[in-house]
């Protein structure tokens, strides 16, 4: 059984963090497991956590006007879940539902925010990594918005 610190060091998200910082951050974290179908968080609720995925798959979904939910993206091993904890107003912007047996490390948002505030250098690295995740997700969403395979007419 790996320690949380070991799990974090093996995760690409923490490539840019020095070992001492990872050890410090591990103090904010616990190991969690989600069963398929389990709701991890819901849209509009307070964003009180940050997840680093070891395995499994989590669907981010928004409520469809016609009822039900539309999966807008999925997050898997080697990726991270949740950015709303880092920026006000600290509320989730989508539902997160495990669609497979999922193992993750959960950070308490308050603890992370405190660490970032105490050490702006760590805060900056966090912000940069999260911005990267956001930029990637935005680019992916924009491309899919083109409905490239759906035969939408050219503008």
């Amino acid at each position: 059984m790996q320690t949380i610190e070991e799990l974090l060091r093996a995760h690409p998200f923490f490539d840019d963090f020095d070992p001492a910082t990872v050890a410090l951050l591990a103090g904010c974290a616990t190991s969690v497991r989600f069963a398929p179908g389990e709701v991890i968080f819901r849209e509009a609720e307070p964003a009180d956590a940050f997840y680093v995925l070891q395995s499994g798959r989590v669907a981010l979904q928004v409520h469809h006007p016609a009822g039900g939910a539309l999966v807008t993206s999925t997050v898997e091993h080697d990726e991270v879940l949740g950015w709303s904890w880092l920026v006000p107003p600290y509320r989730w912007t989508a539902d997160a539902v495990a669609v497979a047996e999922t193992n993750a490390v959960r950070f308490a948002a308050g603890c992370l925010r405190g660490t970032c505030a105490d050490d702006p250098a760590v805060g900056y690295v966090f912000l940069r990594k999260i911005a990267q995740v956001l930029a990637h997700r935005l680019a992916s969403a924009n491309r899919r918005l083109l409905d490239l395979y759906g035969g939408g007419d050219r503008p």
Partner: protein
């Protein structure tokens, strides 16, 4: 010793007669609706005797020359393209066959006589040779075109009275015919007797000149022919710098100048229709209402239409900017990469027959002048908003 002959207009008449007797459909310049165009001729009397022309951007006027010249005008409205690559051609028809073998396809090889041209402009001769290279000397040949060209007899003529829109001298395609003609003529008017200095360009050209009894030209005849050529060179209204056209046009891909051209260009396709080298075609398939018989036709196409670049979902070139850029870039630059020469022969038709008077020599000069400046101003800029058409 070069074989140079001379004959009078009666000799030209005899030439037409011999060609007709030998089974050719003879084409030459004719006056139709007060415009010179290549059409069927039976004798010298069918040529635009004593007619000249004035051509300038978006303007064409026929005029009386006041002499008896038979070839005293610049480029006819259409080149020889229409005869060798018809604007509308039936490729094949099919009719239902039995269930086992399926439709029966029949190629429509018309029993058409070979074509002879008498008085083909030097620029148009150069264009024919370009189309030969494009349509018959690459990986795949256009069978119908190759068939028509194989039997054709070409008598080319030196352009003696170029127009304001002409610039063949810039491209080395005139005013005297280059290689490729069976016979090349220079008409001499008002410099001694009205006569034609003729040079054979092939064994059958020599044979034809022998058949019509064309005697050897004198030194004075040859000198007079040279004077015609030299005078023509000095009377061309335009020129086109041909150095580094590929570099200039490639560098102009994102030039704002396309916006300025598109302000004037109507995307009417006139330039591509009168261009003697434009070879683009499209295929139309049609069936009868019962779904039994079908036919395939090939018709001229133009890169100025939106349809030309259509793939499902829309056209690649929606804007007039992109379509003009495609035409001129192909004509002057990518043509060289594809076929080894500039695709323009300097006939000036695209200038004369453009309803907006757009002049490719001027557009290139503008692009050339703006070459470096434009790169920096536009390289990272937004694409132009497409014009509705």
């Amino acid at each position: 010793m070069t074989d140079v002959r001379v004959f009078g207009s009666d000799g030209l008449d005899a030439t037409i007669a011999v060609l007709r007797r030998r089974g050719y459909d003879v084409f030459g310049p004719t006056l139709r609706d007060d415009v010179v165009t290549y059409g069927p001729i039976e004798s010298v009397a069918d040529l635009p005797v004593g007619r000249g022309d004035e051509q300038s951007p978006a303007r064409y006027r026929s005029r009386a020359r006041g002499d008896g010249a038979l070839f005293g005008y610049a480029a006819p409205v259409q080149s020889a393209k229409a005869q060798f690559l018809p604007s509308d051609e039936l490729l094949w028809t099919s009719r239902p066959g039995d269930a086992a073998s399926g439709p029966v396809i029949e190629r429509q090889a018309a029993e058409r006589r070979p074509v002879a041209f008498v008085g083909l402009r030097s620029c148009d001769l150069a264009a024919v040779l370009q189309q030969d290279r494009i349509l018959t000397q690459r990986a795949h040949a256009d069978v119908a075109y190759a068939g028509r060209r194989a039997g054709a007899f070409l008598i080319a003529v030196t352009c003696s009275d170029p127009a304001d829109t002409c610039f063949c001298a810039s491209l080395g395609t005139g005013p005297s015919p280059g290689e490729g003609a069976d016979v090349s003529l220079t008409e001499i008017v008002g410099d001694g007797p009205h006569r034609f200095v003729a040079t054979p360009g092939s064994p059958r050209g020599t044979e034809l000149l022998d058949a019509v009894g064309a005697g050897p030209a004198s030194d004075e005849d040859v000198a007079a022919a040279h004077r015609v050529e030299r005078r023509a060179v000095t009377r061309m209204g335009r020129e086109l710098r041909t150095d580094d056209l590929v570099g200039v046009l490639y560098a102009s891909t994102e030039s704002p100048h396309w916006d300025a051209v598109a302000e004037r260009c109507l995307a009417c396709t006139n330039c591509t229709l009168v261009c003697p080298t434009c070879f683009c075609t499209t295929i139309t398939d049609a069936g009868d209402l019962t779904g039994g018989a079908a036919e395939r036709r090939r018709v001229w196409a133009s890169c100025f239409t939106k349809d030309y670049s259509y793939i499902h979902g829309g056209s690649v070139r929606t804007s007039t900017q992109a379509r003009y850029r495609q035409w001129i870039t192909h004509k002057l630059a990518t043509w060289q990469v594809q076929f080894g020469s500039v695709g323009c022969v300097g006939c000036g038709r695209c200038i004369t027959w453009c309803p907006a008077g757009i002049d490719l020599t001027a557009e290139v000069a503008t692009l050339r002048a703006g070459d470096t400046a434009l790169k920096s101003s536009r390289a990272a800029g937004p694409r132009p908003s497409p014009r509705e058409d």
